[in-house]
């Protein structure tokens, strides 16, 4: 029993990583209507920027917020320069561009900072929380950050005019232009926000998995699983989905002997397939109701 509780708590703490990544995935999905496969790599690059700033002697929290700001702007620039010209191109063109972006960013990071593994500091310290060995201070801090982010997004979407304009642009772009919303800038804003959230996720993940150009590869898969499980259109669902994936992965790794440590990643993929087959909208995704 004790082992079970321990594994659940450990699952929740890894789940908070996935939750954070899932949140970034949902953000871009809400803004542009499809997934950005380069999201993980963009987050990794942001984290390298933070690492560079810290190495230059910038205090952690200054570097933290500076990185968020830089990432926000970079996200907007990427949309303006690369994706706006694609505009109404078929979705496949976008996918190809995502993959190009993914490889370019990975190589650029490797070129600038090389492929050796770097440690990334945690603002919360790595000591066990309250002396218990179940969860570390960093993991607890990460959960708090994820929840703050979720709350901020909720308020942004629900209670601000810009949030409403963003939702409307995704819902009905033609009609949105007719009420005066600058839809193309809303898409850019969505990119900026998604990149900023990705940066937070990256900086939270890096102390756990160490910093290197491929650090987000596995995590992004888990993040996708969390987002799909929770429902791609629901920020709250994505966070919960992330936690559930973390717990399931940990429990399966511990209690199902065949799976062990090596097959853990498969679980994320199994979750994606199961959800898509059984409940494509995810647990909390909006089942769009429409009169015909």
């Amino acid at each position: 029993m004790e082992l079970f509780v321990q594994q659940v708590i450990a699952g929740i703490s890894t789940g908070s990583i996935y939750a954070c990544v899932a949140l970034a995935i949902v953000m871009i999905y809400v803004a542009i209507g499809h997934l950005n496969f380069a999201q993980g790599e963009m987050a990794m690059f942001s984290t390298f920027i933070a690492w560079q700033l810290i190495t230059w002697g910038v205090p952690y929290w200054v570097a933290f917020f500076l990185t968020i700001a830089i990432s926000f702007v970079a996200g907007i620039v990427i949309e303006r320069v690369i994706f706006k010209p694609l505009d109404n191109a078929p979705i496949l063109s976008h996918v190809v561009m995502f993959i190009a972006l993914l490889t370019i960013i990975t190589s650029a990071a490797g070129f600038i900072w090389d492929f050796s593994i770097k440690t990334f500091p945690s603002p919360f310290g790595s000591a066990p929380l309250f002396g218990s060995s179940l969860i570390s201070a960093h993991q607890a801090g990460m959960m708090v950050v994820t929840l703050i982010l979720l709350l901020a997004l909720f308020f942004f979407f629900r209670y601000t005019r810009v949030g409403l304009a963003l939702r409307a642009s995704a819902d009905n772009p033609v009609s949105a232009r007719l009420v005066g919303i600058r839809v193309s800038w809303m898409i850019a804003l969505g990119w900026g926000l998604a990149t900023a959230i990705g940066a937070v996720a990256g900086m939270m993940v890096a102390p756990v998995v160490f910093l290197e150009p491929n650090m987000m590869l596995g995590i992004l898969t888990y993040g996708f699983a969390g987002a799909v499980l929770g429902g791609l259109s629901s920020p709250g669902g994505a966070v919960l989905g992330g936690f559930i994936v973390g717990v399931v992965e940990n429990l399966a790794g511990t209690f199902i002997p065949v799976i062990g440590g090596e097959l853990k990643l498969t679980i994320a993929l199994c979750i994606i397939i199961l959800v898509l087959v059984l409940k494509p909208g995810g647990l909390f995704g909006r089942a769009t109701i429409q009169r015909v």
Partner: protein, 237 residues
């Protein structure tokens, strides 16, 4: 009477296909003008061209100001509200959010709140359903919502694209009654595009007949209504 909108030599189309071949028309301040014609005559295209949703050339003057180079988003800001065909509902947002979206181009909070109440006074059903997902409304209710959304701009000119489309005759009548009231009480000028010529001519002061991208007749709505030959030839009733 002063002209609110003046259109001269308007050409427009989709890609290689030209639909409008240089049409001229104008709308008097405070009046209701209707643009009639069969399927494919270019009625919807005219409205789209006015709003910059498609490529167009020619003069479009709103209160004397040239707007033919303005983007769709900016044409809204000079006071032209477009109720598009298909009603343009934001199906996943609530009824009230749909109305708030209509006021996106404004920033006077108090005025917006006031106009929300005004819309609810014209369309009480929308108040009842304010928290509902807009996609769940019936066709007639969605048409009311679209008109309400346009009103939230407090527009000088409202462009209405086939407001009767897909509605039961009784609902159509009710909605056209409200148009009349809006025109009289709120001083909104309107350009109504319709296939249902009969009801449009009852509402309108001025009418234009459009046939394959050209205006073939213009005059007072009453005159067209009384001219049996014209009615039979172009409007089929």
């Amino acid at each position: 009477m002063t002209k609110l909108l003046e259109v001269k030599g308007l050409h427009a189309g989709y890609g290689q296909t030209k639909v409008l071949h240089g049409i001229d028309f104008s709308i008097d301040e405070g009046s209701v003008t209707t643009l009639l014609g069969a399927n494919g005559a270019g009625k919807t295209t005219t409205l789209r061209a006015l709003c910059g949703m498609i490529r167009r050339s020619g003069d479009i003057l709103l209160s004397g100001e040239q707007i033919n180079r303005k983007q769709t988003e900016d044409i809204v800001r000079v006071g032209v509200a477009h109720v598009p065909d298909g009603r343009g509902t934001f199906t996943r947002q609530t009824v009230e959010e749909n109305l708030q979206l209509g006021a996106m181009a404004r920033s006077d909070k108090a005025g917006i709140a006031q106009d929300l109440e005004l819309v609810f006074s014209y369309f009480p059903i929308l108040k009842e359903r304010r928290t509902q997902q807009a996609g769940l409304l019936s066709g007639g209710e969605q048409q009311m919502l679209a008109v309400g959304r346009a009103l939230m701009l407090r527009p000088k000119l409202m462009l209405l694209d086939e407001p009767s489309f897909g509605l039961a005759p009784m609902i159509t009548r009710e909605i056209f009654e409200i148009f009349r009231e809006l025109n009289r009480k709120e001083k909104v000028s309107m350009l109504v595009v319709e296939q249902n010529a009969q009801i449009a001519l009852e509402l309108a002061d001025q009418a234009y007949l459009l046939e394959t991208g050209r205006i073939v007749f213009s005059g007072r709505a009453d005159d067209i209504r009384d001219d049996e030959n014209l009615r039979k030839a172009y409007l089929g009733y």
